[in-house]
């Protein structure tokens, strides 16, 4: 029997009916059409499904959708303001942090969650934030460089 799920995704309020066994990732991708969060390992290992739930980076493949009831979800689709990319997105482009792109939504959400809580992280803290996010093109260094550039203020408005 389906249950009611009320939550906010990228600032928009939704009222849906979902199967209790539906995972947050399933609802975002299949019911809301937000395919940024990627389905990959399905076992809480690779980080490609990372979204921000109530201010925290979480793996949407390993949370029941109903556990997000009443919550606020941010996916990669909610990062840009209309056509204006988020500073992290701009930096990822400038620093070549995107190769095949499969890990990118997860990397962006994991690093966004970090910067929201800690705008001045050390390199070690940046590495820790993406520790669970696998990139098989091995683009970690360019991702770290991009995040560092945002931290240094290279992408602040007016610059």
């Amino acid at each position: 029997m389906k249950k009611e799920l009320r939550f906010t995704v990228n600032g928009e309020a939704y009222e849906l009916y979902v199967k209790p066994k539906s995972l947050l990732m399933d609802v975002l991708r299949d019911q809301l059409g937000l395919t940024g969060a990627k389905r990959s390992c399905d076992t809480n290992t690779c980080g490609t499904c990372t979204v921000i739930l109530n201010g925290m980076a979480v793996n949407s493949c390993s949370i029941l959708a109903l556990q997000a009831n009443g919550g606020e979800v941010l996916t990669v689709e909610g990062l840009a303001k209309k056509t204006e990319l988020h500073p992290l997105q701009k930096a990822f482009l400038d620093y070549g942090s995107v190769q095949c792109g499969f890990c990118t939504p997860g990397m962006l959400m994991a690093t966004k969650a970090l910067l929201d809580k800690n705008p001045n992280p050390t390199k070690e803290q940046i590495k820790e934030a993406i520790d669970a996010n696998l990139c098989r093109c091995t683009g970690y260094n360019s991702i770290i460089r991009a995040v560092t550039a945002v931290v240094k203020g290279e992408y602040e408005e007016g610059k």
């Binding site: 980080g47 979480v58 109903l66 556990q67 009831n69 969650a113």
Partner: protein, 291 residues
């Protein structure tokens, strides 16, 4: 593919206990679900009723009670414990353990109580809580009981919880004076589950450099988290020397019952236990002398 189940999300402990009492054996409790959902996806756990306690805010807290120690609600997340300013002095070992427990995404949602109730012998939290002499407060409609955490794991992936009982709180007593604690997790991939984990707490008698009390706990060294009591016996009441630590390591290695699996053979695990008990025992001793 996860099998269908009937879902309940009680908002209070009382509501949860009523549901547990009503559904007895056919339910499974989910907190953060970071381990459980994997098992459900593989069809290894197929509950008829899933009782989701993650939203019970009265079980999500970390409180410091001075000389009485810490009280941690079963639903406190790993990340909250890791970042809590209360994890200092003797409790810093808890934060050290949490910092290496899986990854931020998992620590943000996974709970300490859920981790304990999953009862994986390779889990990170049990060995540390065993050497800290923690107790568990268990609630049911019939009332409450408290038990030592070392008695909580009767067998592989099993807990001492009876039907209708819920783990409500982890109580960590204040660390006695002149006590040092240390923890090590050995694995091939950093922050993965332990190949072997060792935690040691050593209390020295005041003035003399004699081991008044010692607790040694092992993870991934048997079908359950375990205390190496015979190894403790080698050190208790003695002045700890390198030779004695070597002997304690050998005895701990012998009293462990490690399994062979994809990560390591039994023999390899026994060797790790021997080395790590000595190494971590020494670290705990150094910290006890500084405490």
């Amino acid at each position: 593919m996860i099998r269908d189940f009937e879902y309940f999300a009680p908002k209070t402990l009382e509501e949860a206990l009523t549901l547990l009492d009503k559904y007895q054996d056919n339910y499974k409790v989910i907190a953060g679900g970071q381990s459980l959902l994997k098992l459900m996806r593989q069809g290894l756990v197929t509950p008829q009723y899933l009782i989701d306690i993650k939203g019970i805010s009265e079980l999500n807290y970390i409180k410091s009670e001075g000389k009485k120690g810490l009280r941690i609600g079963a639903l406190a997340t790993h990340r909250a414990i890791e970042e809590s300013p209360m994890m200092k002095n003797g409790f810093s070992i808890l934060a050290e353990m949490e910092q290496r427990l899986a990854y931020i995404q998992i620590r943000n949602w996974g709970t300490l109580g859920g981790n304990l109730c999953h009862a994986d012998p390779a889990q990170d939290s049990a060995p540390v809580l065993i050497v800290l002499n923690a107790n568990l407060r268990i609630a049911s409609q019939k009332g409450e009981r408290t038990m030592a955490i070392e008695d909580f794991f009767p067998d592989y992936l099993q807990t001492a919880l009876k039907p209708s009982e819920l783990l409500a709180e982890i109580q960590v007593p204040a660390v006695p004076p002149h006590t040092g604690t240390a923890y090590a997790k050995f694995n091939i991939i950093e922050n993965d589950l332990a190949t072997v984990a060792v935690a040691v707490s050593t209390t020295l008698s005041s003035g003399a450099d004699v081991c008044q009390d010692i607790r040694i706990a092992l993870g991934a060294a048997a079908p359950t988290p375990m205390r190496a009591k015979r190894a403790e016996g080698v050190l208790r009441g003695k002045k700890i020397t390198d030779n004695l630590l070597t002997e304690a390591g050998e005895i701990a290695s012998a009293e462990a019952e490690p399994l062979s699996d994809i990560n390591a053979s039994e023999e390899y695990r026994r060797q790790l236990i021997k080395v790590l008990v000595k190494r971590i025992g020494k670290e705990a001793l150094t910290r006890a002398r500084q405490a």
